[in-house]
Amino acid sequence: MLENKTYIETFCTIQNNEITLNGETIFKSDSDLFADFSKKAYQNFDINYPKFFKMDNLSKLAFLAAELLLKNEIDESKENDIALVFANKSSSLDTDVKYQNSISDKENYFPSPAVFVYTLPNICIGEISIKHQLKSENSFFIFDAFNSEFMTNYAEVLLHTKKAEKVLCGWVEYYNEEYKAFLYLVANEGKTEHNKQIIENLYNK
C-alpha cells in the first residue's frame, strides 16, 4: 500500500578518511589515524561542541555522521521525534580493550572513569541524543555484518506504529583503526524508496 511506503531522506558514509553525503564526497583527508581525521572533519564542518574531544572513537564516528544528517533536520523550537537505530559488529570492543589495559597491571592500577563510560556501544546513541535533545526510541544491535533486512524492517515498524516520525539508522563500526559509518534518515515522505535492496546498494557504495 502506498501509505505504507517509507523513504530515505538522506544518507552519509564515513570510511577510509572520507565522508560522503548523499553519494557526494564532502570531506577527505590524508590523515593516517582516525583521531587526526575526525579532528580535521570536526574543524572542517565548524562543529562547536567541545565534548566531542572527550568521546571515544566509536562515538566520534557516529556523532560526525549524525551531525551531518541532522544539522538541517532538527527544529530546536520543538521536540524532534527521531528514533535512533544503530548496529555494528565489534560493539564497544575498541574502548573495552583500552579500559582492560588500564586495569590489567595490579602494580599500576588506575582505571579511567572517562574511558569506562564508553564501554557500551549505545553510549554513542546517548551522545547524539544529548546533542540534539532527542528523547526518542533508540536501540543498538550487534550483528556479524550489516543486516539490511533487519534494519529496514525495524525502521518501518517504528514509522508504521507511529513510535517515531523519522528514524536515523545504520551501521557504525569501529575497531582498531578499522571503521565504517553508514547512517541514513528514513521518513514517511521522500524521493528514494526505503527498501532492503536500496539500503544494501548504498551501504556497499
Binding site: 579532528k39 567541545p50 566531542f52 574531544f53 572527550k54 588506575f110 582505571p111 579511567s112 572513569p113 572517562a114
Partner: protein, 85 residues
C-alpha cells in the same frame, strides 16, 4: 608552587581532553567546574585518579573534592600539603 600550578594546568588539559583551551587561558583562581572550565562529574573522577596516580594522594571522602577542586590554586595547595610522590 608556581611550577606545580603550571604542571596542573597542562595535565588537566591533557587528561580531560580540553581541546580548545591552552595553559595560558587558565587563571590560578578560575573555577574548574560550573562557569569556569565547565568540567563535569566524570572529569571530577578523572581528577581524583590523577591525584592518586601522579601525586600519591588517595581521596577517601568524596566531599573533600568540592573544596580541593575549586581552582588550580586550591588543588596546588592541597597537593603540596599532602603529596607522597
Amino acid at each position: 608552587m608556581e611550577a606545580l600550578k603550571q604542571e596542573l594546568k597542562a595535565k588537566i588539559i591533557e587528561v580531560l581532553n580540553l581541546e580548545d583551551i591552552n595553559v595560558a587561558d587558565v587563571k590560578d583562581d578560575d573555577a574548574l567546574f560550573g562557569d569556569g572550565l565547565g568540567l563535569d562529574s566524570i572529569d571530577a573522577l578523572e581528577l581524583i585518579v590523577m591525584l592518586d596516580k601522579d601525586y600519591g594522594i588517595k581521596l577517601v571522602d568524596p566531599k573533600e573534592g568540592k573544596n580541593i577542586f575549586q581552582s588550580i590554586e586550591t588543588m596546588a595547595a592541597y597537593i603540596t600539603a599532602n603529596r607522597t610522590k
